[in-house]
Amino acid sequence: MRTNPLRLRRATLLAGTTTIFALTATFVLGKALQHRAAATSHQIVQPEVLFEPVAQTSPQIVAEGRRLYLDSCAHCHAADATGDEGPDLHDLQVSDRYIHNLIVNGRPHEMPSFRKKLDAGKIAAITAYLRTL
């Protein structure tokens, strides 16, 4: 291939523009889908942060989370987490931090606090399990 600087510059510009267009289009589509999902549920979408630490997940943690879920949560949210007295917990659109705070603090007149029963590790395991639903 002969290196023609003008042609290279044009190729860089066009390839870059195509890539940026593709990423922007998917970003806009993602945001639209997020807003649609939020509008049809009671959940509030939390802003996503690029450099948020990655939650540790493994089949063992998920299994431990399921055991803890069945012990502490299943009587309100149902054994399959489809909801009973409490809401359906499938496809949660909220952050790990939001779930942690909700379990620790509870919600007045709706959900008790699990501050004394579940430590951070146990809540992380439950969260890992909920993410698989």
């Binding site: 023609n4 195509t18 998917t26 999902a37 942060v49 698989t132």
Partner: protein
């Protein structure tokens, strides 16, 4: 409509970039290294079409993935790890295919160092994203 339609579309479409991007990189390298011009031309042509199909299939793969996650672009846990490699992989794939066709090189010619660099970067990201995608299926 089948409730798992998007999951099936995602599963079907993601395997095109997973299979074709590494093959495109290998054929491009073979085209550069092969001393026989006739074979070299064939290798470059195959690489060009493979990367184009991989990039084209990555679009429905990305769209179906976004629909599955209800628009979450990062997510949490293993899904987050999957996404952290998916987005660069998508960018490199589209960039490599666009460069291949806009560089002015004929389909049987080498598209130069930039193209080679882009496809190897896309291969790294695609395969890592695929690994974490597979881990999600096993963990579930």
């Amino acid at each position: 409509m089948d409730a798992l339609i998007w999951s099936k579309v995602h599963g079907a479409m993601t395997h095109f970039p997973i299979a074709f991007a590494p093959c495109a990189a290998v054929f491009d390298a073979a085209g550069m290294l092969c001393p026989r011009k006739r074979w070299s031309r064939h290798f470059h042509a195959v690489s060009a079409w493979l990367i184009s199909i991989a990039a084209a299939a990555s679009v429905p793969a990305i769209v179906s993935g976004l629909v599955m996650t209800k628009g979450q672009m990062l997510g949490h846990g293993v899904l987050r790890l999957h996404h952290l490699f998916v987005w660069p992989a998508f960018a490199f794939l589209i960039g490599a295919a666009a460069w291949r066709w806009f560089s002015g090189a004929r389909v049987w010619e080498s598209a130069g160092f930039v193209y080679s660099a882009l496809i190897w970067l896309s291969v790294g990201c695609v395969l890592t994203a695929a690994y974490w995608g597979g881990e999600m299926m096993i963990a579930a």
